[in-house]
Symmetry: none
Subunit: 238 residues, 2 copies
DNA sequence: TAACCTCCAGTGGTAAGACCTCTTGGAGGA
DNA sequence: TCCTCCAAGAGGTCTTACCACTGGAGGTTA
């Protein structure tokens, strides 16, 4: 439980939740294991049942336990951290919302970048693509680093565009997307397509062709959106 | 709040949390606004205080409220907007940058709004225009209030568009513009033109004509930009 | 008169106990 | 053997009481 989240949680319950996690870890309780009843746990830990219950709700929100009415509380296999973050974020922003925002901001910015990029800007963009290639050639692929570099490529374009407000907005948006979804580069074939599209965007910017940069950026984001949405449906088939 | 997340949160508290969010939204409670005391909120919503408290804890974990022991519970700006605001406020921005950002965000949003506006949305927009007319007819004109209502009109359109990220971004952008420049409505003839353009935009949205709404919004912002820039040159003749 | 201290009211924080709802298993009857 | 009913156990919610924190008002002292 990291310190920022802990600040946002009720102190008493957060402390009890940690105690419960310690018990699960020390006793090596497997997923599926049924914890003692709430009343008994509250006695054991010498806390009130409402406080114990709130701690269990925190653990449930973290995917560490599953509470079943009439049955009991069961240890659960921890969700992947990213899945958990995605489920928390999705209540505030849907993927389509984020991609729509990305589109309206990044597509015009790529046009402006094409109109004003310097040799130094192009060199920087190319260096970032080379870094992406280096990471891609490694085995196993460090997808987190890849996601960071991918964002860096796009944010560098936006920086070249020269609109500070949009730049700041897209920095925040990339953070939100990073929290909301796994990088689409994980999915079969996406890495190669993305690389080709990045190169084409860079070439358009280098040649000062704003309309082409715009079109290619839109195409790139549309592709990423399709993959992200397809993946989201696989994970949550309703 | 999608179904997967709902499973991770206690049902009762999650429902109450949503009710609280609805209240915050419907009453347009600003960040910093102090909510009624827990006991009063519990009475209002006809729930027990422990359930109400747990709902508030959920909202606090989401960053939507801040609970201060001994003081009360305060509405908080969504974390994304906080982050964006902090980032944006650390720099100054040129008028062209701000208007460019406004254009890329508001113009597509007006199209989306036209595609999904309800009768209630139209009623709200019309009410805002009526308020603008009331303020305009008074002597002397309260330009500060006029600026607020003008922003409200535009932000309501963006809200109808339904993209929360863009909505939060434009809320921050309007604040920045308010700090950066006087309302263009002060300038001779601008008030009448603006009013006509607002009415036309509302009519386009009401008739569901996204392309027209888009075109009129762009025209409106372009006009405001021209006035703002002309005024800036008068003020700063560099 | 200004600064400091104490007390009180309002607000959130926690607990105990009661009651409600759901689930499961066992007993009894057909 | 199958079905129904009931009781026990488990989670879910509420009511009431008490504790801890904060800020403001009033009183006292220098």
């Amino acid at each position: 439980m990291n310190s920022r989240v802990a600040e946002l949680l009720p102190q008493r319950a957060a402390k009890i939740a940690q105690q419960l996690l310690d018990i699960i870890e020390i006793q090596k309780l497997e997923p599926g294991h049924k914890l003692p009843p709430e009343r008994q746990l509250a006695d054991m830990l010498e806390v009130s049942r409402p406080s114990l219950r709130e701690a269990l709700h925190i653990l449930q929100a973290q995917g560490r336990v599953q509470i079943k009415h009439g049955q009991g509380t069961f240890v659960q296999e921890p969700l992947i951290a990213q899945e958990l973050r995605a489920s928390v974020m999705s209540k505030t922003h849907g993927l389509n919302e984020l991609f729509n925002a990305r589109e309206v901001l990044e597509v015009p910015a790529s046009k402006w970048a094409a109109e004003k990029a310097t040799k130094e800007n192009i060199r920087l963009l190319r260096a970032t693509l080379n870094q992406i290639d280096t990471i891609t050639a490694a085995e196993p692929i460090d997808y987190e680093q890849l996601q960071t570099l991918d964002a860096k490529f796009h944010l560098t374009i936006v920086e070249i565009a020269g609109n500070r407000f949009i730049n700041q907005t897209l920095n925040v948006l990339q953070d939100v997307m990073k929290m909301s979804m796994e990088t689409t580069l994980r999915f079969p074939g996406r890495l190669k397509i993305s690389r080709n599209e990045h190169s084409a965007i860079l070439a358009a910017i280098e040649s000062g062709d704003g309309d082409l940069a715009l079109k290619l950026t839109l195409q790139h984001i549309t592709g990423a959106r399709a993959v992200a949405l397809a993946n989201a449906q696989v994970k949550n088939p309703d």
